[in-house]
Symmetry: C2
Subunit: 225 residues, 2 copies
């Protein structure tokens, strides 16, 4: 009985990893669509969002069925509820990537404000945090999970820096305002994706150490749009 | 046994309602702090955020204990997982209210851009949606829940309108840019609070009709910051 259940739990993890890989692809492609001014790619990201929506619903169904049918042990129960929360965060990553893609479509119609440096850097950091948080989940690496929570500050700072720089552009030339607002939204989306990776990392610590560290060091809210 | 469990579930609902009332107070006071330029009130909102954080952790603990100890029926199980999701949304409402309060503190140090009309209107609508979504949860009113999902569009439109108006100000007078950005963030926070009320409403439909309507009519992302 428990062996069957272990297989079910392994299936749940497997599904979550597939979902995470879709979310990461969306993030990377959304920023690539911006940097390469690639409308086709941006539209693909928007389409992939439906896939992530479906994953979230399926993950919930699977989890609730496992909870209902098997009367799981306390530790398994924690695993299932954590899997539901991680899935929710991954779905939100898809939403943020979709917003980036939408804003990229708008920006691609106008002259480029400046070469992109910080935004691709933020995207790389966020994608790494996401990947590492899922790895920490699958392999029970709570130290790695705690490290991710620290790395979140770096993206917060980059977001603040981007925000300040864009305000400078706006003040200097009001013609850039719409473009700057779009870029502020994109930067904020990346900062939020890193927040989702952080949420996953916090759930991993809770799962393996039984300690709820959410809100323990709530980051001060960042200024970008 | 089931009678005891019913009492436990009633306790869970009760706790959620108390939490919702804190979230609503935060929302209303944050906007009041902006409109009345009241720094003391803004700081109170920031402090109340910790209360909501604690509620979320306690709601999770309570829910997981109920799942673990009682091997609940399928319908009760759904109620418990929905309660966890609603609690998460209420905690986020607290986060948004805190952001509004922070931005109000910044705005209170500068001359007022214009009389506030749309923002208090959005706050009233969002608070009503939140209250009605919890009422729908407690009383199983799925029609009311569906109505809330419709009302979300009104706030989305108000947010777009505020956004357009503020871009106008920025273009006309770059001196207003920082204030406009703060107001855009506040407007977006209110739009997000309405999204959380909508999430609660969708969970209510799922709980009482067993139908997952999330993402069914995904609103197009709104342009404000």
């Amino acid at each position: 009985m428990q062996r069957h259940f272990d297989q079910d739990l392994a299936g749940l993890k497997e599904k979550l990893l597939t979902m995470a890989s879709h979310a990461e692809t969306s993030l990377i492609q959304a920023v690539k669509a911006l940097v390469d001014r690639d409308d086709v790619l941006a539209r693909q990201v928007k389409e992939r969002d439906e896939v992530l929506d479906r994953f979230e619903i399926e993950m919930d169904e699977l989890s609730i069925n496992l909870l209902a049918l098997k009367a799981p042990l306390a530790s398994d129960l924690r695993l299932i509820t954590v899997a539901m929360k991680i899935s929710q965060n991954l779905e939100r990553v898809g939403d943020e990537a979709t917003t980036i893609a939408r804003r990229a479509l708008e920006l691609n119609h106008e002259a480029q404000l400046k070469p992109f440096v910080d935004i691709p850097r933020m995207a790389t950091l966020a994608a790494e945090m996401l990947r590492d948080s899922l790895d920490a989940f699958v392999n029970g690496k709570t130290d790695q999970a705690r490290g991710i929570i620290q790395r979140d500050k770096e993206i917060d700072n980059l977001n603040k820096q981007v925000h300040r720089e864009l305000i400078g552009y706006m003040l200097e030339d009001p013609q850039t305002i719409t473009r700057c607002l779009n870029l502020m939204v994109i930067s904020k989306c990346l900062e939020r994706i890193a927040d989702h990776a952080t949420n996953v990392a916090e759930e991993v610590v809770y799962l393996f150490e039984g300690r709820d560290i959410r809100h323990a060091a709530k980051a001060t809210e960042t200024p970008a749009a």
